[in-house]
């Protein structure tokens, strides 16, 4: 019987093991040292490792990122945590003008070993300032790695890979996934960047899904299988870099593509993936590739409007059917 952990507990365990494995790992974040521990993801760490290695931080997000940078230069491996990705935006100067280009402008003589955890809300009226997922912004920047795990297994393995890697990593966590449980091995293991997971093999259509839309894509695949549609589901797991090889290989077999991206439509990740596929396989596609994304709108608060805002299973099922028609 394999051990099961929730997504939040897997993140907690990855940090605990990282703190055990290497004394240079530190965790900084507002309320990181509280018993509730950022939705349980840092609970207990301060008791185990002390207030020097697990620290609360002033509500100064730009400084928090810059502090991680300076601390990395002195040999630590900081993990910084934003309870809401939206607050991270105060640190855009640190991220865009300094962090992303640090290795480049040092001509490869200096790396930033930093992990930025950023949590994206969904539901219960999170509204326009607690639910933005700006993963496409970060993936646009040379020099950053961007992870978007959808399972507890990936959350742990990718977080460890981020912490002990040599690139700055933005680790985007879907809060709607936090209670989902799955098998998580006890050892400290790695999941590589740029290595997508084929969650389901199929021959009729490739569905590339990201983050919180990956479980949804799997549910839809099970649903349309009842009517004989055989879906291949690829969970991209990381955006920068993203696994072009697996996606191109899959679409060259299925010759149909749907991308499910929990971000805004215009200039987004779905557009990038579809453009890449069209350039490589333009004469092989049997139907136009489909984008399932959030509308080009900010998130509403009302639960009635939330239901309209986030793509429903039925919308995606209809899109899959239309693609095969």
């Amino acid at each position: 019987m394999t051990r099961e952990l929730s997504y939040a507990a897997a993140i907690n365990e990855a940090q605990r093991q990282a703190l055990e494995l290497n004394e240079d790992v530190i965790v900084l974040g507002q309320l990181a040292d509280m018993p509730t521990g950022i939705f349980g993801t840092t609970s207990g760490l301060v008791d185990r490792f002390g207030p020097g290695r697990v620290q609360d931080f002033p509500v100064a997000e730009n400084l928090m990122t810059a502090t991680a940078m300076g601390a990395s230069l002195v040999g630590t491996r900081p993990i910084i945590v934003h309870q809401r990705l939206d607050f991270m935006i105060y640190s855009l100067d640190a991220i865009v003008n300094w962090l992303a280009l640090w290795r480049f402008k040092s001509n490869g003589t200096s790396n930033m070993c930093i992990t930025i955890r950023a949590i994206v809300g969904k539901g219960w009226g999170q509204g326009p300032q607690h639910s933005k997922s700006l993963h496409a912004w970060f993936a646009h920047l040379p020099g950053l790695r961007v992870a978007m795990p959808s399972t507890p297994y990936d959350a742990k393995g990718l977080l460890l890979e981020s912490i002990f890697g040599e690139c700055p990593s933005v680790f985007v966590e879907g809060r709607s996934l936090f209670s989902m449980t799955g098998a998580v091995p006890e050892n400290a293991y790695r999941v590589r960047f740029g290595d997508a997971a084929i969650r389901r093999s199929g021959k009729d259509i490739t569905v590339v899904a990201l983050g919180m839309m990956a479980p949804q894509a799997m549910r839809i695949a099970a649903e349309v299988a009842k009517e004989g549609i055989d879906t291949e589901v690829i969970d991209l797991r990381t955006l920068a870099p993203w696994d072009q090889t697996k996606v191109l290989d899959s679409v060259s077999r299925t010759r149909r593509l749907l991308v499910a991206d929990p971000g805004w439509r215009s200039f987004g990740v779905a557009a990038e993936i579809i453009a890449t596929v069209c350039q490589a396989l333009h004469n092989r596609l049997l139907s136009p590739p489909v984008r399932i994304t959030l509308p080009d709108s900010h998130t509403p608060m009302s639960s009635a409007l939330e239901q309209q805002y986030y793509p429903t299973d039925q919308q995606i099922i209809d899109a899959v059917r239309a693609s095969l028609r």
Binding site: F104, N107, Y153, S179, T181, R190, P215
Partner: protein
């Protein structure tokens, strides 16, 4: 000097430098360092246009030599230093190789950053020197380095040089709050040269007393006449000692002036942003001149010794130019590897692999609590 302010500073007239208790060898070394920096900048200005081989923005620091000269004699190789875009003085102060600065400006392969950064973004990781052009951003990273130095209980300190314009930015005040809270081993050196490009500090801020404004945050702060290299040396020495003994962060506000334009060798007086009286005051009280007057008067600096100093410096500078010009331009890099490290030695060492099992995707979304 209780009422030092850009508003009234010219009332000082001709400044009289007091040598204090500094021994002659320190004074002569300060003079040599200031002259090295001055002559280097003058040479770069002269060479900038004739062949247009230095194709990057350069913010020269003529007139602002006192702070870098003093720092160069007070900090250790194990210390960290961060600078803004007017970087040459700090690069020099940290003891980073000057020929690599020249080669960097020329965009050459052997430049400090292989021609990727240029003057305003130059760094030298082996010398623990870093710079960048987005003002308070570098001060913030310096605070982070100081945080880790404290966390790891290292003997180093961190020096962050910036101009008064960086204090317009909110990011600066995040540093001040955090540094005061944590008593970080950080020396904040504010070279207040009055202008953000062409904009007077007193057009941007209600007063020019930054040192007073940081004190309530728990930071020790002093202001000095930044062209008096003896005062500068003494203030920075006590700041460095303070930070190194764990007493916390110090800010030194040094009132000074750049005699060249904001950027490049050109005269920018078309913007009419500074008065002839001011410029005359600062030329008359240039830091090199002030010290030289004292040393000449006492006979500690003879004309012959002065000439020898100049000869050695001129030769050194010629060597840097020769190095920069003789070396090749970089080849086209691998863009991906230039931006991302593909190696992960620590992950290779510490992390293993694991089998992934089937995940049950038919689980409900987490029900978020109101918080």
């Amino acid at each position: 000097m209780d009422h030092l302010s850009h508003r009234t500073i010219t009332q000082i007239g001709k400044y009289k430098l007091e040598r204090g208790d500094l021994p002659p060898d320190i004074l002569l070394a300060l003079l040599r360092q200031m002259l090295r920096l001055r002559r280097m900048e003058e040479a770069l200005i002269r060479e900038y246009h004739p062949a247009d081989e230095m194709r990057c923005p350069i913010h020269f620091c003529i007139g602002q030599e006192a702070v870098p000269a003093a720092l160069s004699m007070l900090i250790r190789p194990t210390d960290y230093m961060f600078s803004h875009h007017r970087s040459h003085g700090y690069y020099f102060a940290k003891g980073a190789p000057l020929k690599e600065l020249f080669a960097e400006i020329y965009g050459k392969e052997t430049g400090a950053n292989g021609g990727k950064a240029g003057s305003q973004d130059i760094s030298h990781a082996a010398s623990r020197f870093y710079s960048g052009a987005i003002l308070a951003g570098a001060v913030s990273i310096a605070a982070g380095a100081a945080f880790a130095v404290q966390h790891k209980r290292l003997d180093s300190i961190v020096v962050s040089g910036f101009g008064e314009a960086a204090t317009d930015e909110g990011a600066f005040w995040e540093v001040v709050n955090f540094a005061g809270l944590k008593k970080l081993p950080l020396v904040l050196v504010c070279e207040n040269n009055r202008y953000a490009t062409f904009s007077d500090q007193l057009k941007r801020q209600a007063s020019d007393n930054i040192y007073e404004r940081v004190r309530p945050f728990g930071i020790s702060a002093v202001r000095i006449f930044g062209n008096d290299v003896v005062q500068v040396y003494q203030a920075l020495k006590s700041a460095v000692d303070h930070a190194r003994t764990g007493e916390g962060t110090v800010l030194v506000e040094a009132y000074t002036y750049r005699l060249n334009g904001h950027v490049g060798p050109e005269d920018d007086s078309v913007n009419n942003y500074r008065s002839a009286t001011d410029i005359e005051f600062w030329k008359m009280n240039c830091p090199i001149r002030l010290l030289e007057e004292v040393l000449t008067q006492t006979g500690e600096l003879t004309p012959a010794a002065r000439e020898r100093m100049e000869t050695v410096i001129a030769e050194e500078i010629l060597g840097h130019f020769a190095f920069a010009k003789a070396n090749p331009f970089p080849e086209c890099p691998d863009w991906r590897r230039s931006n991302w490290s593909e190696a992960s030695p620590l992950a290779d060492k510490l992390l293993g692999s694991a089998e992934e099992s089937q995940f049950d995707h038919c689980q409900a979304d987490a029900r978020l609590e109101p918080y």
